[in-house]
């Protein structure tokens, strides 16, 4: 699978143990270029851990990850992996709270600017700084955050902080973006807008999207394929249709979600209309 030209991300027989806890147990999956693939499962299933292994926060106990056909070397630091072209957002928002919205984006641009500490300090790379600022402002404009570019990031409302995190991830110029519960804490309308937005950034930036999400209507609506994780093990994979009717998945996960969050399951007419509006705009 890893040798397939179309495969952007491949996880092969990955196991991740924390002391006695096996957070991920022999997981294999792959994400193809241009796909939106979802990773779902109950709390504690190991989804975030998978993202943390892919991005180098944790080193896998065994098994490996390949990106763009070549294995990611063991032990390389997260910044190197970001440089390869994998960006991420965090389940618990991690923006640079004391910095402005624009500065948050500029930090993500830092690694790809052509300058060193002397040219930067002595303002010899002014053009580079200007170019980076222009690109950052375009990204913010895209997220509807441009008017707030000089606000302190931590003063933004929760939903906008999530958008800022996505914008910041995009600013690293990724081929693959990992979104960890981007709709957490968003209301149904915002969630619907996010669905349209994820599709839009895929087209615009030629992205591949790997998304963890508990909002099932969002997942079913945007995913090309879905992987389901339970207690660290892969219990199902397939198209949204296949997953929705999979007995094991319903037992392990979907059934319980329906009880918890019934509003999430069926997209309402209102939401559908809203999406139309967003699409018409772009």
């Amino acid at each position: 699978m890893a040798t397939d030209k179309n495969t952007v991300l491949a996880i092969d027989n990955l196991t991740m143990k924390f002391g006695g806890v096996t957070a991920i147990d022999d997981l294999s999956l792959h994400v193809n270029r241009g796909e939106i693939v979802a990773l779902i499962g109950p709390n504690g299933a190991g989804k975030t851990t998978a993202f943390n292994v892919i991005t180098g926060v944790y080193e896998a106990t065994s098994g490996g990850v390949s990106f763009g056909g070549s294995p990611i070397p063991k032990g390389i630091t997260p910044d190197k992996i970001t440089k390869l072209g994998i960006a991420r957002t965090f389940q618990n928002i991690r923006i640079f709270g004391s910095m402005t919205v624009l500065e948050n984006i500029l930090v993500a641009k830092h690694m790809r600017t052509k300058q060193n500490v002397l040219t930067a300090t002595f303002r010899l790379s002014r053009n580079e700084e200007k170019r980076v600022r222009r690109e950052a402002e375009e990204l913010l404009d895209d997220q509807g955050l441009l008017q707030m570019k000089d606000e302190i990031a931590s003063s933004l409302p929760y939903g906008l902080q999530r958008h800022l995190e996505i914008a910041r991830a995009l600013a690293t110029d990724p081929q693959l973006i990992l979104l960890d519960e981007p709709a957490a804490g968003m209301n149904p309308q915002e969630t619907q807008e996010l669905a349209a937005f994820v599709k839009r950034i895929r087209e615009k930036h030629g992205l591949t999207v790997f998304i963890i999400e508990h909002h099932m209507d969002l997942v079913m609506q945007i995913s090309d394929r879905i992987y389901v994780l339970d207690f660290g093990k892969l219990i199902a994979s397939g198209t949204p249709k296949q997953i929705q009717t999979n007995k094991r998945v319903i037992d392990a996960y979907l059934g319980s979600v329906e009880e918890d969050e019934p509003a999430d399951i069926k997209p309402s007419a209102l939401n559908a209309k809203k999406e139309g509006a967003v699409n018409a705009e772009s």
Binding site: I95, G97, A120
Partner: protein
């Protein structure tokens, strides 16, 4: 349109800031020509400007990059020694290094070059200890850097390297600030520059630090401070950037140490204690972690209070009250400690927090007061 207006406003504010700074320098120069040289004001201005540089260099690390390091006195020591060792004129070496047969170094370099060397030596040392030390978590980093500073203090007094460092004896007779005063034909000083010189050197260094902080690298430093994990996920190489902040901070601490040597006219390793680092840390915290102007203000206030305003508390008479029973040696330190505790209690985040003192801030303050008044008037009119 709004943008153009915004940009013009920004330009005006920058101009006001520059004008304010220039005015300070002119005032220092004029004061030096008209006031008696013995005025305590000059102690405060000289030592204050040097401490300002050292505090800002520490703030770069502790306030802007979020690395809790306590090695400042060690880097100052290196800077002071490198400056002294390479600037003592040849004719004085025999008397300075009297126990070491005139020492082993027999050349001198110009003051400016010696200042750069002082910084460079501190920076090189920082780069070396940075490799192991910067991988430590913050509390351990503080302990390790403090330890290194103490080791340096002992090392520089070691007899074996006495021919270079003069052992535990004073290094003296190197160029100091008074040597920059311009003398007239009659041999008397015509133009005093002894206060302006540390102001200029410290000013240039602080300007460089500010330029760094406001560059792409400075943003990366602040990102590390705000959230290391997120910074790394955004492609910021943590070790490289921490190392950079550490080396640059140490460079300027080294220059600051050299300036302190010039001010004190003598160097002894024993004086660079951890208490000195704590003093600077105190200035940084009082001024505000993450505020350059805070560190500068804090430094002048600290020096003025400890060296000047509270002097009477040790000397029998304070604010015209003569009470030798209470106001005697050591009482100043007690009062000083209380004041600092009060400042820290009431200004949790220091005088400036993490904002800067600037024309923009003053303008905003005024605008807010004005708006409040206006809205009050409107309320009154509505009633």
């Amino acid at each position: 349109m709004n943008n153009i207006k915004h940009r013009r406003n920004k330009k005006i504010l920058t101009a006001v800031n520059v004008a304010l700074l220039l005015a300070i320098y002119v005032a220092v120069f004029v004061a030096e020509q008209v006031l008696p040289q013995t005025s305590m004001l000059f102690v405060v201005l000289k030592k204050g400007s040097i401490y300002a540089l050292i505090a800002v260099s520490m703030n770069l690390l502790n306030g802007f990059t979020g690395l809790f390091s306590l090695g400042q006195a060690g880097f100052m020591l290196i800077g002071a020694y490198v400056y002294g060792i390479f600037t003592i004129p040849e004719e004085f070496r025999q008397s300075v290094y009297q126990y070491f047969d005139g020492g082993v170094i027999h050349f001198t370099v110009p003051v400016v070059i010696a200042l750069v060397m002082a910084g460079a030596a501190a920076a090189i040392f920082a780069a070396l200890i940075g490799l192991p030390v910067l991988r430590l978590k913050s509390d351990y980093l503080a302990i390790a850097t403090l330890g290194f500073a103490e080791i340096l203090r002992a090392l520089f007094q070691w007899k074996i390297i006495g021919p270079v460092t003069n052992g535990s004896n004073l290094l003296r007779k190197f160029p100091n600030f008074n040597d920059f005063n311009i003398k007239g034909a009659d041999g008397k000083v015509a133009v005093y520059l002894s206060t302006l010189i540390p102001f200029i050197v410290a000013g240039i260094c602080i300007l460089l630090i500010v330029l760094l902080i406001r560059s792409s690298y400075g943003r990366a430093f602040r990102a590390i401070r705000d959230d290391e994990i997120a910074a790394e996920a955004m492609g910021v190489n943590l070790f490289k950037h921490k190392q950079l902040a550490f080396v640059i901070s140490s460079f300027f601490a080294g220059v600051g140490g050299a300036l302190l040597a010039m001010y004190q006219m003598a160097i002894q390793a024993n004086a660079f204690t951890s208490a000195m680092t704590y003093e600077i840390l105190l200035i940084v915290v009082i001024g505000g972690l993450g505020s350059v102007t805070g560190s500068c203000l804090g430094s002048f206030l600290f020096i003025a209070a400890s060296e000047w305003w509270l002097r009477g508390l040790d000397g029998g008479t304070f604010l015209g009250i003569n009470a030798p029973g209470i106001f005697r040696a050591g009482f100043r330190k007690v009062v000083f400690a209380v004041i600092i505790m009060l400042v820290v209690l009431f200004y949790r985040k220091g005088i400036m927090g993490d904002s800067e003192f600037s024309a923009k801030r003053i303008a905003e303050r005024f605008r807010r007061i004005f708006m409040k008044r206006k809205s009050k008037i409107e309320v009154v009119e509505n009633e």
